[in-house]
Amino acid sequence: MTKEEKYTLAKWAMNYALEKGAQQSSVSISNSRSSSVEVRGEKIDKLEQAIQSGLTIRLYVDNKYSAHSTNRLKKEELARFIEQAIEGTRFLSEDEFRTLPEPELYYKGDKGNLLTLDSNFSKVDPQKKIELAFAVEKEVLGKDDRMISVSTGYYDGLEERVMVTSNGFEGDSANSTFGLYGSVSVKSDEARPESSWSESAIFFDKLKKDSIGTTALNRAISKIGQQKIGSEKMTMIVENKQVGRIFSPLIQALNGSAIQQKNSFLIDKLNQKVASEKLTLTDDPFIVSGRGSRLFDGEGLATKKRTVFEKGVLKTYYIDTYYGKKLEMEPTSGSTTNLVFETGYKDLQGLVGTVKKGILVTGFNGGNTNGSTGDFSFGIEGFLIENGAIVQPVSEMNITGNMKELWSNIGEIGNDINESSSWLTPSIVFEGVDFSGI
């Protein structure tokens, strides 16, 4: 579907809903294309290709609310779909807080292109994609006798969407992504440690295409001989790519729904110090070609650059229109864009050099956080550090604690930003973490 076709269908569906009894409505339509190839044992293991489209409609009927989606986009089917959805909505209870956003908060089309789409997406030669996946495999074949299995792959995807609302919003956006990965298993006694590495980019030309297989192999080999060590309170360094796992409970606790439903450990903490003063963090939607960059959010609200934590003081919640009304707070946006951490001065090696005894966490294995209290416990693997040097690989251990305490005990923040995610996380040192092992 072209952009114009999507707009035309979206407006038709919205108007049809209004005609059939909804007082307000919003409709978004997206379509996407993707392809992938996975290589194993010097031949193609899987070849996949996909094209899909879908429509989502939000209905506000007599102060009652529902949302519906379908991938059946023929008008005659959509008409019945919308009619039935409206009819069903009438049986719900009224909810005075459900409305579309205030029009003045919508994005007005007044900002430039954030460059999140590779206009040459369709021009990448399918044969080239296959060759790239084979090239990742070739980097490691025959490089180490301990290798049992190598899987490598290439993938790409493009998604285009439009959204219209009955109180005046119209907007469209598009994103592309290209990726390469490698996964290597090696033999060590009984265990068969595996490690993978990946690179991704919005533009095909910017995709890093080398060292992926080698990095996966080296990381797998470094795990040989993993064992658990004694339970102890120690320093923990979390590698940049893994920080999201322990940071996401903080973001969840800032969500309007969690605050209003009393399922957050950061209720009524705005403008209070809740974390170490080493934590300063900005939500920046306008980074050119940022993974999380956008001009408007899922409701059409214009995005803004916001400080989330300033020297450990909480500066904002993530609040959408509905929970904003319930909480009597201004909506900010229900989700993160690009999270930019204020960084320190050392890379990962520099951080390791400062630790007398601790564990560098390079992977999490299960675990969870209690949203109401912040109590957490996660399985981990990584490396024991003694006197500033890595001495052995560890696994089958847990860390346990409370999110508020963990983030109040930051030792140091690294400068090694993980740029392959919208959360631009550096490696971080935490003091006094409870590890359980033997």
């Binding site: 070849l47 959805a85 595996e194 339970s231």
Partner: protein
């Protein structure tokens, strides 16, 4: 099964998702000999047997060894309650066909959301390109496979109006508030799902399935002084609307409140290795994570599982029998056919302590030259089938729960979980304990909460030293993820003692 009715595409009154609405049935002319059942599925997807044969021929045109078509139409509905009112609903309709071509163990895959002959032929040609020679495919004789009936229902969800569902969701809210004055918030939801599946492959097998599913849940928040805690309870089955009643409401409400209440008094155990008693029921997560995934044959044929060279070897005490079962009546993990059109069975993974079978899909059962076990599953028509679990459980053992607990000097008893994970190669698995108890000198003492437990699969299996006679399947909303695909499963376990696992906790 309710598949004999030609008119099973309901337009229903005020069904939120509405069923998908197709134009009046095409008056298809089926030249081949096929039953009314199959005909109704062909009509449902607006295809004919001849079209299926043409698409498979295109899929096989480049010299593939095998091809299959997986048509799926899924209708999902949700109604939800928050702040005392049933004030939200959502629905989703998903429709399409996945086309797969195999050449040895290589897979070509494409799907189409439209089932016109041209759209399907285009997808078939793309999937065909996994092979690269010109070949002519001789259409096999069409054989109909009538699926088993593991989930017969009375009232199809497509026929149930929002109006009839709302009172149950409202009642569960009221019940939770009524049970404890510390309750400050309740979120409740009722999800139902109906899938129509039509399957055809290059061997001529034509089969179908009708898969209902319902999940009913309550999440409550309670406050005691300045402490806030939360708890969750849910039940899920392949059942129809007839399943809903006041007893069910009371059961879920009570469990949600009980599970929250215990947390106010809970502490954390000391960190480290200790005996772990797994309570009957949801503790089946131990089997799912510690051995289930590592028994999936795709990992084993690639040599990447820690169990890759253990077939036929003793892996557990002789009283241990572990099963993966797709045939339990109305169970969330049951399927009448798997997503590769194969029959489903009760598979002994471990028999009398010996590794007896892996969990197979088509590719792996060919590789190991064994019969398929009916474990080839996929999240939707968009996805390649993989070896996946169904209901994974252990048969009762020779001990009693009391004997097991009294055997432990210091350890933990755990029976309420939220999630787990495993690393296939290293064998390290984990599960997160929402609540349980400390065991001190053979007795349950203080409650514990929010701790992760980690172990190593083969070691943990060998360390199950006692199993009780109180086996239970847990009918919560278990969902298993693998390679980005989610499928519904369940698990079960009698009370067992694992001699040693590493328990999250605090250091003195």
């Amino acid at each position: 099964m309710n598949v004999n009715r030609r008119n099973f595409i309901k337009t229903g009154g005020a069904v939120v998702a509405g069923s998908m609405v197709l134009p009046p049935f095409m008056q298809s002319c089926h030249k081949l000999q096929i039953s009314e059942n199959v005909k109704s599925y062909l009509d449902h997807f607006e295809v004919s047997a001849e079209m299926l044969q043409k698409v498979v021929a295109a899929a096989m045109s480049k010299g593939g060894d095998y091809a299959d078509l997986f048509f799926e139409h899924k209708i999902s509905n949700n109604i939800g309650l928050q702040d005392g009112k049933v004030n939200r609903a959502s629905s989703n309709i998903d429709f399409g066909v996945g086309i797969r071509v195999l050449k040895g163990d290589q897979t070509g895959y494409a799907y189409s959301e439209n089932v016109s002959l041209d759209d399907m032929l285009n997808a078939a040609k793309m999937a065909a390109s996994i092979a690269n020679e010109n070949a002519t495919f001789k259409t096999g004789e069409l054989t109909e496979k009538i699926p088993s009936g593991y989930y017969k229902i009375v009232r199809q969800w497509e026929d149930v109006s929002v109006k009839d569902k709302v009172p149950f969701v409202q009642k569960i809210n009221d019940k939770v508030f009524e049970l404890d004055e510390k309750v400050i918030k309740v979120n409740a939801s009722l999800n139902d799902e109906t899938s129509y599946i039509l399957f055809y492959n290059s061997e001529g097998r034509l089969t179908y399935d009708y898969r209902p599913m319902v999940s009913f849940s309550a999440f409550c928040i309670m406050q005691k002084g300045d402490k806030i805690e939360n708890g969750y309870s849910a039940r899920s089955f392949r059942k129809g609307f007839e399943w809903m009643d006041d007893n069910l409401v009371a059961e879920i409400a009570k469990e949600a409140v009980d599970r929250t209440n215990i947390l106010f008094e809970a502490t954390k155990p000391r960190a480290g290795e200790m005996p772990v008693v797994m309570g009957a029921g949801g503790s089946g997560i131990l089997l799912h994570e510690a051995i289930g995934h590592t028994f999936e044959a795709d990992f084993n044929r690639k040599g990447t599982s820690i169990f890759s060279d253990k077939m036929g070897k003793k892996v557990a005490e002789s009283f241990i029998n572990i099963i993966d079962d797709g045939t339990l009546e109305n169970n969330r993990g049951s399927i009448n056919i798997d997503d590769e059109g194969n029959d489903v069975e009760k598979t002994y993974l471990v028999k009398d302590g010996v590794l007896n079978s892996y969990i197979h899909d088509r590719i792996s059962s060919n590789f190991y030259k064994v019969n398929p076990t009916g474990n080839g599953r996929r999240e939707s028509f968009r996805d390649i089938p993989l070896p996946r679990m169904r209901a994974t459980y252990m048969e009762p053992g020779p001990h009693s729960k009391d004997d097991i607990i009294s055997n432990v000097d210091y350890g933990v008893y755990v029976d309420n979980f939220s999630n787990g994970q495993v690393q296939i190669g290293a064998g390290d698995f984990t599960f997160f304990v929402k609540s349980g108890y400390l065991i001190e000198k053979g007795k349950l003492t203080r409650p514990i909460k929010d701790i992760n437990i980690i172990g190593n699969g083969p070691q943990a299996l060998a360390d199950i030293s006692m199993a009780a006679n109180d086996y239970l399947i847990d009918n919560g909303t278990w969902t298993c993820g693998k390679n980005g695909q989610s499928v519904p499963v369940t698990c079960g376990l009698p009370t067992v003692l694992v001699k040693k696992l590493t328990v999250g906790g605090t250091n003195a």
